[in-house]
């Protein structure tokens, strides 16, 4: 049963924030399905609901309405403890500013998810080393973040994200703090991981980053504006950016 369902199935997802007396409808009913081993870009301008959707997909928050099935499980009604466990097992986060612990070595940073995993004790070093090897940093294990370049830091963060073999690798503007050469390297790494079977979701506002994905989901005002394969999206984006508007 679970296998017949897509990896991610979002149905009529809404999110309403109350800031003081103001009510913000961040998501106004989003339907989205992402299958296993897809590489999807989620795009949108500031205020489009892109970040809110990412937080929902990453199980960092629960929706106001609608449902979210991850791997066949309804995660939209879980409490904080259950969500933490889902994040630990199913989601690998990569952030724009890397979020490495400054006083710990690359290896210790990569080990971090195991601290909160059941059975994280056994073989932790081997697992962390294997993850670092996959991102090509096996010779930098004992370096601290301040001894690494930006690209290397992001590689450590990616190694940390893939350590628990998550269902989703969820990257939020992963190249936002990197120069163009390093950006290309990091995006190549994402593609390589995708080629090895990893489901990847990139949240970005840059078309060049989105161009590395197979599929682009565009959001505007809390709704899905377009959801197209990359080949058709470039035209759509052209239209959208000129306010032509489709759908």
């Amino acid at each position: 049963m679970a296998d017949e369902r897509p990896l991610i199935q979002v149905v009529g997802l809404t999110k309403i924030y109350r800031v003081g007396v103001e009510t913000i409808h961040a998501l106004r009913g989003v339907d989205l399905s992402i299958g296993r081993n897809e590489m999807v870009a989620i795009m949108g301008s500031s205020g489009s609901g892109k970040s809110t959707l990412m937080n929902q997909l990453g199980c960092l928050d629960t929706p106001t309405g609608g449902a979210y099935y991850l791997n066949g499980r309804d995660v939209s009604r879980m409490n904080a403890r259950e969500l933490a466990q889902v994040r630990n097992e199913e989601i690998g986060f990569v952030f724009q500013s890397f979020e490495l612990l400054p006083r710990q070595t690359a290896l210790e940073n990569v080990e971090l998810p195991l601290v909160y995993a059941q059975g994280g004790w056994r073989g932790r070093k081997e697992r962390a080393m294997a993850a670092l090897d996959r991102v090509g940093l096996s010779d930098r294990m004992d370096h601290r973040p301040n001894q690494l370049s930006g690209g290397q830091r992001q590689r450590v963060a990616i190694a940390r994200a893939i350590l628990n073999k998550p269902s989703i690798l969820l990257a939020d503007e992963p190249t936002g703090n990197l120069d163009s050469t390093t950006t290309a390297e990091i995006l190549a790494l994402f593609r390589q991981l995708h080629a090895e079977g990893q489901t990847v979701i990139l949240v970005t506002h840059e078309d060049e980053v989105a161009a590395h994905c197979q599929r682009v989901v565009r959001l505007r005002d809390g709704r899905v504006l377009s959801d197209l394969p990359i080949a058709q999206d470039s035209a759509g984006s052209h239209l959208a950016s000129h306010g032509g508007g489709v759908r």
Binding site: D61, A84, R87, N88, V115, Y116, Q118, R124
Partner: protein, 413 residues
Amino acid sequence: MLNPLFWLQAISLAFSQIWANKSRAFLTALGIIVGVASTTAVIAALTGLKAKVLAEFESVGASKFFVFPDRPNNAPRNMYPWEKILLKTSEVHAIRDECTLVKAITPITEVGLDVESGDKRIEGITIAGIWPDWHVVQNRFVIEGRPFSQIDEDSERQVCLINGDAIRELDLPANPVGESVLLGGRRFMVVGVIETTTARFFGMNTSSAEIFIPFSVAEKMQERNFFMRIEGLFESPETALEGEAEVRFVLRRMRGIAPGDLETFRVAAIDKFIEQFKTLAAGITAIAGGIVGISLLVGGIGIMNIMLVSVSERTREIGLRKAVGATPTAILLQFLLEAVTLCLVGGFIGIAFGRLAAFGLTKIPGAQLDQADIPFWAVAVSFAFSALTGVVFGMFPAIKASRLDPIEALRHE
């Protein structure tokens, strides 16, 4: 639920946080350091004092008792005039003859007289009148000559016992037995030299020169109503309570005190003094405990403050930990452990300082605290209270950290 790796990293993180902010951690823990150090030092001093005092009690003898005349508390003076309260020789006889649990007993009365020997003269020496049993009661015997005998007492012989200091002050020969001295103008023969004991009971008998005469002789030299006290020995420390009851029974009967009426004397056994001293020591310990309580409270507020700072400094780290799967409980435990570690390190340093202070106390000349030491229970209690402070005052910041919204935390600047 939480794996060993969690505990390992939480503890090492706690220590590395302290190490990374050494001076801040030290200042934060200062309240706890000072509290624990001062308390353990006070307890060490008390332990030393207790050892000393109990040793002195032991040397006096645990089965010893005293009887004093005593006006009942808040009783009007005219109802209990001194002449009715003062102990009488007949009462001492009655106690000796009737109390089966009394092994030895002596009345002691003191009279201040001028003493002359040859051309040496000392004014106003306190001379004590005693029974021969005094030797047994005080556990003091003669080193030259002979002790008092019953014949000395019964025949009111003008004989005296003196100690080494008196020999020196009066310029008597080293063995003065057979010499005579003038006590208040009357001639007394020295029959024995009494040993000078080093362990003195709470500074009593501090006058270095001591002269003793038979009680029957001293009685004649006193005014009509004179003060005497009784010292005696019970058969054993275990029978002290019953012995005391016997003495009180005899005295009440002699004085015609009706049941329920107040006693005009006081019987005090040494073991009671020991109890009283222990009560006093426990009281001081309790006060010291109160001080440590207050300083731990103050120290705890410092801990809470710094933990709140730590939580806000590390908001992004908390957000990240939550993103990779830390449950609220895991975050709570991590910060709680950090607060407890900080407090325990403070407690450890405090005990080290306390130990140093205790060592210093043993080196103070004349303070009689050479046995000052921090007992194990005080170390254990200090650590326990330090840890408790960490838990109590670390709880609020830890709860705050555990409840942080991961999204907000990751966005925190």
